[in-house]
């Protein structure tokens, strides 16, 4: 017990001394770890949001809203509804009045209701929400309804055939770019931690010489430097975790108010996973960097 405690005490007090003895280098390695983890955390959250959007868009993909001109009388709208319902490709048609559309619009997250109230009149059109059996028929139906004089012209429908493909492409590009960035930064941070440990070993070369001379084991000599790498990883990770942990929710709320029609959501359970991953990755960076540092420079 005493021996173990001596070992831990020696490793931590030496590591802490090393950290401050070459503070400039230590701070540089903490910064690079911090940047890597910030990039990692942000990327994971962005990709997760894009995934959520794709999933939501896919459920909406079998439906199309046909916007009706404000001049269309209700009876004509009902005739049009009946006409569409008789189409074999269509499974369901729902009429949404201007008032219902406004009520729906008010429920969008992060939208200030007073914005609409200041408009005075209701700018939203009434619509027929058409659900189809096979989403491949959506394009043809879209083409047909656009020719009807009852339909609003700007815009006629909410049909956007490529939106899912576009989001998936965006997610893929963001994912690959982020991954390349993170791999590059990871290599850089491991290298910088290695240099930090090398500096610490250089500053302690006399002590290491004496330690080996009086019979300290290789691992007793190595532990302080491994611990120093872990300290670098932990500090970098904690700062990044705090920023991402407290910044995610405000970021989502701000984006929601800008991208009103994008179904962006705050996901606290996923956030916890991301924060844990960041902390783990920080420890990994610290231990790999310091292991490489001691492996190369403590061999006889």
């Amino acid at each position: 017990m005493h021996r173990l405690w001596n070992r831990i005490d020696f490793a931590f007090s030496s590591a802490w001394q090393n950290f401050w003895r070459n503070a400039a280098v230590s701070v540089a390695s903490v910064l690079i770890v911090w940047v890597v983890l910030l990039a990692l955390g942000s990327l994971l959250l962005v990709l997760h949001s894009l995934d959520q959007i794709v999933a939501l868009e896919k459920t909406k993909a079998s439906a199309i809203s046909v916007y009706l001109a404000d001049t269309t009388p209700l009876s004509s709208a009902m005739d049009f509804k009946l006409h569409l319902e008789q189409d074999p490709r269509v499974t369901n048609v729902t009429y949404v009045s201007k008032d219902q559309a406004l009520a729906r619009f008010r429920q969008l997250p992060a939208l200030d209701p007073s914005v609409i109230d200041t408009l005075g009149t209701n700018p939203l059109p009434a619509s027929l929400d058409v659900t189809v059996r096979d989403i491949r028929d959506l394009g043809a139906i879209d083409q047909e309804v656009r020719t009807s004089p009852l339909v609003d012209k700007s815009p006629a429908t909410n049909y956007e055939p490529n939106v899912i493909d576009k989001i998936i492409l965006l997610a893929r590009v963001a994912g690959i770019a982020g991954l390349v960035l993170i791999i590059g930064l990871t290599g850089l941070s491991v290298f910088i931690i290695m240099l930090t440990i090398r500096t610490a070993i250089y500053l302690r070369r006399k002590e290491i010489e004496v330690m080996k001379l009086v019979g300290a084991t290789d691992w007793f000599v190595r532990w302080p430097f491994i611990v120093e790498g872990l300290i670098v990883g932990v500090i970098g990770a904690v700062v990044a975790v705090v920023i991402v942990g407290f910044g995610y929710r405000p970021a989502v709320i701000n984006l929601q108010s800008v991208l009103i029609f994008v179904p962006l959501a705050f996901d606290p359970s996923y956030l916890r996973v991301v924060l844990a991953a960041m902390l783990g990755f920080g420890l990994l960076l610290g231990s790999v960097g310091s292991y490489l540092g001691v492996r190369r420079f403590l061999k006889q």
């Binding site: 405690w5 330690m211 009086v214 019979g215």
Partner: protein, 241 residues
């Protein structure tokens, strides 16, 4: 220590050759036996191979050919992870003391126990014990630069004694000291030897070797040229047969 064969010498070199990677032959066919509690001077000009021999004994270097045994242990077969335990049986001091300037006398000596995972509660009495052997009571809280050269070498000797070594290797321990101080260090090594520790001292100090009349092993050009009990620094001029 079940591995020790009772009659075997404590240190033995059997046809040892050491060739460095650059081709320099530092030791050539060296055969030497040192029994327990012996006191041996290792003499010879600089570059003769004395330091190489010392480095081989603590396995800082491996012999190219031949066998070296220390405490019954074949050093060529010693695994790297067992090396620290060999070092704990061998106390070492050098010409340049190798003290840590930012630690006090007490801490320098205690350092050897701390880094070898000795239990901390035994540290203080042990450090006090070895400091009293070398006569440095009262100097525990001084830093190396506040001490004379002789005192610094005493701290190094105290540090080498904390593991109760069976073998004491001194590589030019008096090289940086004036004659009077050198004699004090020699007295200390004799005292350590009298307590049952084998002492091997590599030295240039002709006066000490000549006065002591102890066993002398002379090395020149990597070879043992003389090995005599109660010898002098140089071979007797008139020894003919």
């Amino acid at each position: 220590m079940a591995t020790i064969i009772p009659a075997a010498p404590q240190i033995s070199l059997d046809h040892v050759q050491k060739t460095y990677p650059n081709g320099t032959v530092a030791l050539r066919d060296v055969t030497l036996e040192i029994p327990k509690q012996d006191f041996v001077f290792l003499v010879g000009p600089s570059g003769a191979g004395k330091s190489t021999l010392v480095r081989l004994l603590i396995r800082e270097e491996k012999a190219t050919t031949g066998t070296i045994r220390v405490e019954g242990q074949d050093l060529s077969r010693l695994k790297r992870r067992h090396l620290p335990y060999l070092r704990r049986k061998i106390g070492m001091v050098f010409q340049d003391f190798k003290l840590l300037p930012n630690l006090t006398v007490f801490q320098n000596v205690g350092f050897a126990l701390r880094v070898t995972e000795g239990a901390l509660r035994h540290l203080k009495p042990k450090v006090e014990e070895v400091l009293s052997i070398v006569g440095l009571e009262g100097k525990e809280n001084k830093y190396p630069d506040q001490l004379s050269g002789g005192e610094q070498q005493r701290v190094a000797i105290a540090r080498a004694l904390v593991h109760d070594p069976r073998i004491f290797l001194a590589d030019e321990p008096t090289g940086n000291l004036d004659p009077a101080t050198s004699w004090e260090i020699i007295q200390l090594l004799l005292q350590i030897n009298a307590r049952g520790t084998t002492v091997l001292m590599a030295t240039h100090n002709r006066e000490i070797v000549d006065v002591m009349r102890r066993r002398v092993v002379a090395i020149e050009g990597g070879q043992i040229v003389r090995d005599e009990d109660a010898g002098g620094y140089h071979a007797p001029a008139l020894e003919s047969h």
